[in-house]
């Protein structure tokens, strides 16, 4: 099997950081690049396994069709639901500005 891992670029790292809403200080980027790289190299060991005849796995347990009936159950008391929110207002969860101009 061929390795599918190309070397992680600085752009990849920055993209992943943006997607994860993380700020990576410039001086730390080199270190994170090295770590990400070795992590991916390690995971890449899996690509050595011949999986041509193996169906992709959808779930680790051999179970399917677990359903519940469409019956209403009590919801949370609103005060309790909001109790961990850093900001709230009139029974709403309050969040900071969403879009930037």
């Amino acid at each position: 099997m061929v390795s599918i891992v190309a070397k992680v670029s600085k752009e990849d790292l920055e993209m992943v950081a943006v997607l994860s809403r993380l700020e990576v200080p410039e001086q730390d980027k080199e270190k994170h690049l090295r770590q990400l790289d070795s992590f991916l190299q390690y995971v890449d060991n899996l690509s050595k396994v011949d999986t041509d005849q193996v169906e992709p796995l959808a779930h680790v347990l051999p179970i399917h069709n677990v359903f519940r009936e469409d019956e209403v159950r009590p919801s949370l008391d609103r005060e309790l639901a909001l109790s961990n929110a850093p900001l709230k207002e009139d029974g709403y969860f309050k969040v900071p500005k969403i879009l930037e101009d």
Binding site: M15, V18, L19, R21, A58, H59, V60, L61, I63, H64, N65, V66, F67, R68, E69, D70, E71, V72, R73, P74, S75, L76, R78, A81, L82, L87, E89, D90, G91, Y92, F93, K94, V95, P96, K97, I98, L99, E100, D101
Partner: protein, 480 residues
């Protein structure tokens, strides 16, 4: 240069269940903010979602009704993105193994029937509702979030880019709505956001094959807005291309008040949803027998129903199309006919006075003050000649305002047919005397000439003379 539009729709439809897709919270619309939430739909750590059986059932029914192949092995995936209306920071959706694929619907266009292919139908959860402090999302310093709608079950119906005009896009969405209503899986109340569409549109030089860069408009929730937003986008993109410019691939919002689309300019540089299988939910396996049972359980769908009305009752394709466009209307028609009314007359009255009155009062047919039973009875009175259709209009108007039966209205208002032989005889005599030409025509063998005399008599009695009696008396006197 002449351009043609390439349009595809992603229609989101909320399913008509009592509870959310993965928890027992109620789905009732209009509840007080954050009163239909629980640890599961709020995405608190350590909770375990369990699929609502009815969601799968409804999604499969929709798949069959939209001519799709049902995937016998289907699973849920996580679609990762950050937005405050999504408490888990991912939406539970379906990626590579959606519940249904490869379907189609046929729509009517000016050029005739056109087939719009459906790529896929997948199940997913709805997001919460944001209430912005400013007038728009952009000038709001903060927003408030209501998670009642989070986890309400949706199906997303993705079309191929098979539409080329705003009218076709509208017709397609109307067809989808009609089918979902027929199979009773969604309320399709567009004003409540039950049914909304994301529109994808790009232009390309007419006759070419390569797709241009597309713009997307999200959450359009009326048929008019679908048409208007697309019409505006076609003009906007045409102008840019004409000037030698390039279309930017982006999401735009439709502002119905100003009649324009505007760029959203989010700070997200590129979307990458990093789909992964949802480990907390197990796969869904559906057997051929189950699919067959669902298929058998479906009601007659709009196309089949339209064909039936055309073949069985001889309705025009136009009339049958309108009557079957909504299930309520089609059922009303069937009920009028079941009452014993002539199908063509039933169609005429529904498309005429009934529709006119409903439209002018903004009412739905299911709230019609004149129910199918009374309309059916009235049409029969016309068929029997008890009243003329002109008097029928008067009776209909009265029925609209009162709960009385047509027979009672006719009696109370003195619209009762004249059955007094003496009274009609007198009129018959005077009409014969006053119309020598048709009388002579009739006597010389042109039996059709009697029609003119009947017309005169009906006119003089303001339609109240019993036509059978009139015909009988006339024939007697003329044949003497």
């Amino acid at each position: 240069m002449k351009y043609e539009a390439v349009i595809g729709l992603e229609i989101h439809s909320e399913l008509k269940t009592n509870t959310k897709i993965f928890c027992g919270c109620a789905t009732t619309f209009g509840a007080e903010q954050n009163t239909h939430v629980c640890p599961v739909c709020l995405g608190l750590p350590g909770v375990l979602p369990v699929v609502n059986r009815r969601v799968v059932e409804f999604a499969i029914k929709a798949g069959i009704a939209l001519n799709c192949t049902i995937n016998k092995f289907s699973k849920f995936d996580r679609k990762n993105y950050y937005y405050p209306d999504l408490p888990k920071n991912f939406q539970t959706s379906q990626y590579d193994l959606p519940i249904a694929e490869h379907g189609y619907v046929d729509i009517e266009t000016e050029q005739g029937k056109k087939r719009i292919r459906i790529t896929r139908i997948h199940m997913e959860e709805d997001a919460g509702k944001l209430v912005h402090s400013g007038t728009t999302i952009k000038d709001s310093a903060a927003s408030n979030v209501d998670y009642n709608r989070t986890g309400v079950p949706l199906i997303e119906i993705v079309s191929e880019p098979d539409m080329s005009t705003p009218q076709e896009a509208r017709a397609y969405m109307e067809k989808i709505k009609s089918i979902l209503e027929y199979i009773d899986v969604s309320n399709c109340r567009m004003e409540e956001g039950n049914l909304r569409a994301d529109l994808n549109i790009s232009l390309r030089p007419a006759g070419t094959k390569e797709l241009g860069t597309k713009a997307e408009m999200k959450n359009i929730n009326s048929f008019k807005a679908v048409e208007d937003a697309l019409t505006y986008e076609i003009e906007r993109q045409e102008e840019i291309l004409e000037d030698g410019g390039h279309i930017v691939q982006e999401t735009r919002t439709w502002d119905p008040n100003r009649g324009v689309t505007l760029s959203m300019r989010t700070k997200e540089t590129a979307q990458d949803y990093r789909y992964m299988p949802e480990p907390d939910l197990v796969p869904i396996i559906t057997t051929d027998e189950e699919i067959e049972a669902y298929r058998k359980g479906l009601p007659e769908l709009p196309d089949a129903r339209q064909a039936r009305l055309e073949e069985k009752f001889g309705l025009s394709s136009y009339d049958a199309g309108i009557i079957t466009s909504s299930r309520d209307m089609a059922e009303y028609f069937d009920a009028v006919v079941a009452e014993g009314a002539d199908p063509k007359l039933a169609a005429n009255w529904m498309m005429g006075d009934l529709s006119k009155n409903l439209n002018s009062e903004g009412k739905e047919i299911k709230d019609s003050p004149v129910d199918a039973k009374r309309l059916g009875k009235m049409i029969q009175l016309i068929e029997k000649g008890t009243i003329s259709s002109k008097i029928g209009k008067e009776v209909f108007k009265t029925m609209w305002e009162s709960p009385d039966d047509p027979e009672k209205i006719i009696k109370d208002k003195g619209l009762v047919q004249i059955t007094d032989t003496k009274e009609i005889e007198a009129i018959v005599d005077s009409v014969i005397a006053a119309n020598p030409k048709p009388v002579a025509d009739y006597k010389s063998g042109n039996k059709k000439a009697i029609g003119a005399l009947v017309g005169q008599i009906m006119k003089q009695t303001r339609g109240k003379a019993n036509p059978q009696l009139v015909n009988q008396l006339l024939a007697q006197k003329l044949d003497q």
